[in-house]
C-alpha cells in the first residue's frame, strides 16, 4: 500500500451515516458485524482496488464485533485510517484494536447512553407526564436529538486519532498489535463473565432446608457455567463444527434445560 490519502472528508461522513444501520443487524454469531461491513464497504472498495484484498478485509469485518453504537465510530474511524495506510497488512492490528476497545467503550457508552440519560430524563419526563405535562418528554427527546446530531462527528475523531497513532507508531506496529491483543483478550475474559448468562435452577428443598446448586457453584467459581459454555463452543469451533450447528445446539440445550428445570432464566 502507498501513503497517498485516498479518503475524503465526504467519504468519512458517508460512512458515519451508513453506521446508522445500528443494531438492526445484531445476531448471535457476529454481533453487529454486518452493520460494520455495510458502513465500511464504500470506503473499503476505494482503498482496495484489488478484489482479493477487498474480500480479505471484508471477511475480517464480518468477524464478531459488538460495541455500543454511539461510541463504535471511535473504533471504526481509527481502523479506517489503518487500512487506508497499510491495507491488508493492517488486518491483524485492525482486528485486535476492534476487540480490545469494543468492551471498554461499550462499558462507558452503555452507562451514559442507556442508563444515565434515560434514567435522569425518564424520571423527569415520567413524573411530569403523570400530571399531564408533556414538557419533560420534549426535553428527553431534545437531549437525544442533540446527541444524535453530534454522533457522526465521532467518526472524524476516530479517524484523526488513528492517523496520529499510526504516524507515531512507525515500524513498531507489530508490538502495538500484540499489546492491543492482550488488552482485547483480557476484556473478553471479563465480558464473558458479565454478559453470558447461564444459571442452573436445580434446588433441593427438603426438610425446610433449601439448597440451590447455583449458589454452591458460585462458591467454587462464579460464572463457572458461562465459562464452560464458551470453552466448549470454542473447542467445537476449533474442531471445525459449523456455527449454525452450534447455535441450534445451544437453543436445544436451553429449551430442554428449561423443560427439565436444569436452567433458569
Amino acid at each position: 500500500m502507498n501513503n497517498i490519502k485516498k479518503l475524503t472528508k465526504k467519504d468519512i461522513l458517508k460512512t458515519a451515516f451508513r453506521h446508522f444501520l445500528g443494531v438492526t443487524t445484531f445476531n448471535y454469531d457476529t454481533g453487529i458485524a454486518p452493520t460494520i461491513v455495510w458502513e465500511l464497504f464504500p470506503v473499503l472498495r476505494k482503498i482496495y482496488s484489488n478484489d482479493d484484498d477487498l474480500v480479505l478485509s471484508l471477511d475480517n469485518h464480518f468477524r464478531y464485533y459488538n460495541c455500543n453504537p454511539w461510541l463504535s465510530p471511535l473504533i471504526t474511524g481509527a481502523t479506517l485510517a489503518m487500512e487506508e495506510k497499510d491495507g491488508v497488512k493492517s488486518i491483524e492490528a485492525v482486528q485486535n484494536l476492534k476487540t480490545g476497545l469494543m468492551g471498554p467503550l461499550s462499558g462507558i457508552g452503555d452507562t451514559i447512553i442507556w442508563v444515565m440519560l434515560p434514567t435522569i430524563f425518564g424520571a423527569i419526563a415520567g413524573s411530569m407526564g403523570k400530571n399531564g405535562n408533556p414538557l419533560g418528554m420534549w426535553l428527553f427527546l431534545a437531549v437525544f436529538l442533540v446527541c444524535f446530531f453530534l454522533r457522526p462527528y465521532l467518526y472524524f475523531v476516530g479517524y484523526q486519532t488513528g492517523t496520529n497513532l499510526l504516524s507515531k507508531l512507525g515500524q513498531k506496529l507489530d508490538a502495538f498489535t500484540d499489546a492491543v491483543s492482550v488488552l482485547g483478550i483480557m476484556v473478553i475474559g471479563s465480558i464473558v463473565s458479565s454478559t453470558v448468562n447461564v444459571q442452573t435452577g436445580w434446588t433441593f428443598q427438603t426438610g425446610g432446608v433449601k439448597i440451590s446448586l447455583q449458589s454452591i457453584l458460585d462458591q467454587i467459581c462464579p460464572s463457572l457455567l458461562p465459562a464452560i459454555l464458551v470453552f466448549v463452543l470454542y473447542y467445537m469451533l476449533k474442531k471445525k463444527v459449523k456455527m449454525a450447528t452450534l447455535i441450534l445446539a445451544v437453543i436445544v440445550l436451553a429449551m430442554v434445560g428449561a423443560v427439565i428445570g436444569l436452567f433458569k432464566a
Binding site: Y64, G129, G136, K172, V198, P222, I251
Partner: protein, 265 residues
Amino acid sequence: MGLTIKEIVLISLLSYVYSLDRHSTQIAGKITILYGALAGLILGNFKQGLEIGATLQLMSLGVANLGGASMPDYPMAAIISSTIAITSGKGMAAGMAIGLPVGMLGMNFDVLVKLINSAIAKRAQNFAHKRQFGKMTRTIPLATLIYPLESTIPVFIAIVFGKSVVQAILDFMPQWFTVGLNVAGGMLPAVGFAMLLVYMPLEKYGYWLIVGFVATAYLKIPVLGVALLGAAAAIHLYQSIANKKVSNQVSENNSNLTEEDMEDE
C-alpha cells in the same frame, strides 16, 4: 374495540417506526412516554396516552439492554396500552393488562429476530466470497427492515384481536418455551465470544483470558476497570517488545550494556 382501519394502519406504522428507530438511529428508543402520547394523539386523546406512557416510563427506569441482551419492550407496551385504554374506554388499567404482558414477551421475539439475523449475515458473507458485492450490500439492510416486525406484529394482533386472542396465544405458549427462549437469550452471546476467541492469539497470550475472567467473576470489577488493567499490561508488553527490538538492533552493531539493562521490563 372500535378501531377504524386507518387507525389500525397508523398505530401499526407507529410501532414500526418506533422499533426501526430504536435499533437504527436510536433517537427515541428509550422514550416510552413519547409512544404512549403519540398513540394517544392518533386516537384523539393525547393526554391519556401521555399519562399511560409516563407510568410505563417510570416502570422502565434502570432497565437497559446491553451487550446484545434482550429486555421487556416498554415503548411497545405503551403503544398497546394507550390504544386499548382509549378505544375500550376502560382506562389505563385495562390497557396495561394487555400492554404489559405483550411488552414482556417482546424479549422473546427479540431472541427470534436475532436468530434470523444470523442467516442474513451468513448470506451476505457468502455473496462477498463470490465477489457479488452489490448483492451483499443489498442483503444486509434486509435485517433492518425485518427487525421492526418484532414490534409491529404483536401490536397489530393485540389491537385488532384484543384481550381474548392475546390471552389465547399466551395460554398456548407453554411456559418452558418462553423460559427456554430467555435461557437461550442468556446463552447465545457465548457463541459470538467463542468465535471471537478463535481469531485471537490465544497460544501466545491466552493466559490473560484467565486474568480478565477472575477480575470480573470473583472480584466483580466492571469491564472498564478490567480494561484499565489490560491497558497497563498492554503498555508493559509494548515497551518490552519495542525495546527488545531496539536493543537487538543495537547489539548487532556494538554491544551496548546500558541499553540492555532496561530492555526486559
